[in-house]
Symmetry: C2
Subunit: 405 residues, 2 copies
Amino acid sequence: MIDDIDAAMRSKGIDGIIVFGNTTLADPDLTYVVGGVLPRGGTYFKKLGRPPLLVVSNLDYGSAKRAGKVKRIQTLTQWGYERLLRRFENRGSAFPHLILQILRTEGVRGKVVLFGRNDLANGLHLAEKLERLGVRVIGQQSPTILEAARDRKDLNELEEIRGVGAKTAKVVNEVLHALRNAKEKRGHLQIDRKRATVGLIKFMIASKLAREKLIAPEGTIFAIGASGADPHNAGVDAAEIRKGKLIVFDIFPQAMSGYWFDMTRSFVVGRADARARKMFDAVKGAQMASVDFLTAGVTGESAMEVSCEVIERAGYRTVREIFQGKAKSLSTGFIHSLGHGVGLTIGESPYLSLGIKDSLQSREVVTVEPGVYLPGYGGVRIEDTVAVKSKGVEILAKVEKELEL
Amino acid sequence: MIDDIDAAMRSKGIDGIIVFGNTTLADPDLTYVVGGVLPRGGTYFKKLGRPPLLVVSNLDYGSAKRAGKVKRIQTLTQWGYERLLRRFENRGSAFPHLILQILRTEGVRGKVVLFGRNDLANGLHLAEKLERLGVRVIGQQSPTILEAARDRKDLNELEEIRGVGAKTAKVVNEVLHALRNAKEKRGHLQIDRKRATVGLIKFMIASKLAREKLIAPEGTIFAIGASGADPHNAGVDAAEIRKGKLIVFDIFPQAMSGYWFDMTRSFVVGRADARARKMFDAVKGAQMASVDFLTAGVTGESAMEVSCEVIERAGYRTVREIFQGKAKSLSTGFIHSLGHGVGLTIGESPYLSLGIKDSLQSREVVTVEPGVYLPGYGGVRIEDTVAVKSKGVEILAKVEKELEL
């Protein structure tokens, strides 16, 4: 949580942090400290033990006020940026002097860490210039102070993610409803008299997301039959939805606030064969067992072990074989990790994965998504996004888990 | 263009460049050198004078092949990454050793520049570790080697941007058509029997973008009346579209390839008053004059001067007053720059702005978007995206510029 930042700075001997960027878009750290969207970005300063300062362009002053998280907002003009630009001729040369001036005024004298998603070549150049001006710039390995703060959500963040979850669930339910009501005509499934292809469903999903004011910058997975056996295959638009074929539907939208949600359902239209039923039962059993197991204090690894055991008992292989040195690689069975953190990115710590010995903490938001894949046939993956509590978890959006539509 | 990289490396004394990231999403440099989408990113190595090497996870090997720009593709496993992970216990510690190993094998001994949009704290930490391992890491000020290469588009890139432009124009034309056919009922405009609000139009736009497989990660501006006088105001969903009110419609979508497009039209439904007509004529005249003026060899500043002159002659103020020291700030008239580069970002060099003395080059893609704003009343902005040619420009997508729908 954002209130953890001061304690973390103190324990690591850091006197100041700077978070900057030309936009908050796709910049989780800047979005986090600012609390909302700044179309042209800004620069955030935090001296140990003092309230932060946000410096923005005149045009973004209103956006910064609305974002609301930082109370002290000032403009570049107030700091004489135009004068610096004239003196140093370009932004790259003027910016380090602006930063130096603000750091001095804020009383930062010790080590400073730079944050924000920025082009590295520029960022390293800035660090070199600051060092020449006497600023002690240091790097940080993951999890950085801000990554660690973002890990545990506060109540507002949980409410925001719950809201994105409710909208996501609505879209998923509507898609399931449309598929359930697809009509068969001359051997082809139809929705609203159009042939039921992956392309049609994806357009339906995109329109519904638009209605809910969600975007899907990384797309949506809707993969049928054999293509569902590859977890990274998003599905082929021209593919037709056919009765009895396994479908993996994985949706991961983002709200304008920057927060994401993640949900996967697997199913068939009509009747499933025995092979699909067996895969589905194993994955659903594993998913529910891991969700039941999860609580503050357990490790990501142990949560994954629970799913592996259920899936292995059902007769499928799992990545445990690789970790135990019994296999070099795996293309069938449960071939990926159990889950990952969700927040201002769609994949971050904590990871629910073999080898991860850190204990989960309450208010972390993670996915639980075991899967079983049979190359040439298809895949089943079932995923909920949950908030870890001191006892158990809260499933942040609920949608039925039925094999047959 | 990408073929310029070797010459730029040589002239700057750089022996190797590394471009890396966890995703190509919102990472223009990584998208550029890879040529497409890698869901989990990758690491690109280029030794001066040698063909590049791309190292990806097993899961993304197929995506890297499809992206197609790099011929030498290898996996992390081939480089023994799992072994390094076991030895160093985490990614942050293992990654510098992986990089060192690859740099040595590729024969890189001199200065190395790191690229890719990454969290700066992590990036600086990586640079420190590499330096301790004997790698000479240096930063670069904008325009970096890759920014400069991205500036001038090759024929494939121009064709891709033209394609995004054609889809954008289609969406804009359909929205104009719907507004032109809006029916008035009891004093309210209706589209398909629904009240014509900004929210309805924005949903229509989002659905049409989805159909064209475009996304709008930064939203769409559809601002009516007084809200249009603030260039950063995206419009209020609840606002009703009323006859005779000025509307600013600014759309800036992105294709899955990573390339963006930018277009703005301003208009009224029904009849415009004299004030709107005067603003519109000034802005349209300025926009067409600057487009006519643009050609390889002219400066961004001179292209902007052309628009300023037309707008000033019509009786409006422009930011020239600030540059001439006659005003400290400006909230009315032409209050922003003329344009900016477009490609794998929606705002990059070259800038068509006062103070920019660099000459434009053929195959640069820029927006031309003068505007006039009257606080409390409304705004007019007209924008095309054009490719600079050795003689003149190509307007990459054409849509009517009419004040009255």
